[in-house]
Symmetry: C2
Subunit: 212 residues, 2 copies
Amino acid sequence: MHERAADTRRAVLQAAAHLFFEQGYAATSIADISELSARTSGAIYFHYAGKEQLARAVVEAHFAAWPALIARHENVGAPALERLVRLSYAVARAFRDDVFVRAGARLWAERRSINVEMPPPFLDWIATVEHLLDEARAEGTLAAGAEPVRDATTLVSAFFGLHTLSDALDERRLIEDRLTAFWHLMLPALQGAPAPAALLDRVREDTASLPR
Amino acid sequence: MHERAADTRRAVLQAAAHLFFEQGYAATSIADISELSARTSGAIYFHYAGKEQLARAVVEAHFAAWPALIARHENVGAPALERLVRLSYAVARAFRDDVFVRAGARLWAERRSINVEMPPPFLDWIATVEHLLDEARAEGTLAAGAEPVRDATTLVSAFFGLHTLSDALDERRLIEDRLTAFWHLMLPALQGAPAPAALLDRVREDTASLPR
């Protein structure tokens, strides 16, 4: 693709993500996207057949954000539960700061009103968490009563609910504090020793300065 | 109100809740509600000024479902944590089986596209859970590391997320099993003794046969 075409594509997608997030799918028109991206609607239609295709591209950009983030946390030299907690802060920050992630989340919430197929976002996350819990078991750090398959699903749904609540009550500004509270409730069932609080203090401070 | 008018009001509201839940707010028309309720649109407009007012009435019916349910569980003769767990099963069943609760939940998810003010559903629930955790502390059954204010918020958001996940993955058919898994993860941080598993087995069996 010529550089200029790539620029246009990127600008249009960015504007679409911004508007889908701010005002939702139904209220966003190609004319709005044209205005915000400073591209003609002709240029937009050259790259995307219509609003549905733009929504699909935003959702794809949302899903494309995760594999690199997950790989970075899977390969860090730390116990598996600590890597799980670190990953959760990184994901929470992406949901607060990344326009594609935020727009993808809103489009998913509105999925029933949009004619675009969207896979449920839970399954890949459950597999990722289950894998980390399995590793913790292999390391001998997972509490005896924990069950990776069962607990991975609960953790992912609880994490999702935390974002919905933070979105509704404080526009995700308090998501990191809420996540710390979340782990205070979750870790006792997952980790015997060392004490969960110590892990939490260390991880939250460390990861704040890491690249996402 | 005359009995016939009350009947009409109820039938219209029931039909609106059914359709808002099944197909969402935007896709539901007064004509659809007229057809399903077997009432003329004139009769509908006599009771409700329009679709927005119907949505508001459905949301109010959703919120009206809770105080009696909560009171019933607050006044049962059982330890506070057990009452909390019992209440959670009752609420989960309402979200699975009650059309007003289900419709209210969907309307809330679509709130940004609907011109009806809807309070966030979390705050009253957080207060209810906090109250039960305070009682558990007063009874001496709350774990030392638990903090009612902090943990009530996490519990409510996690419970909400559980419903979103169950809704997306199994249309809430598995909500009771998922809720049992949820408590396996949550109770260790809340309850020292007796062992959480024993409480769960007892409560889930008991409440299945209770009226909601």
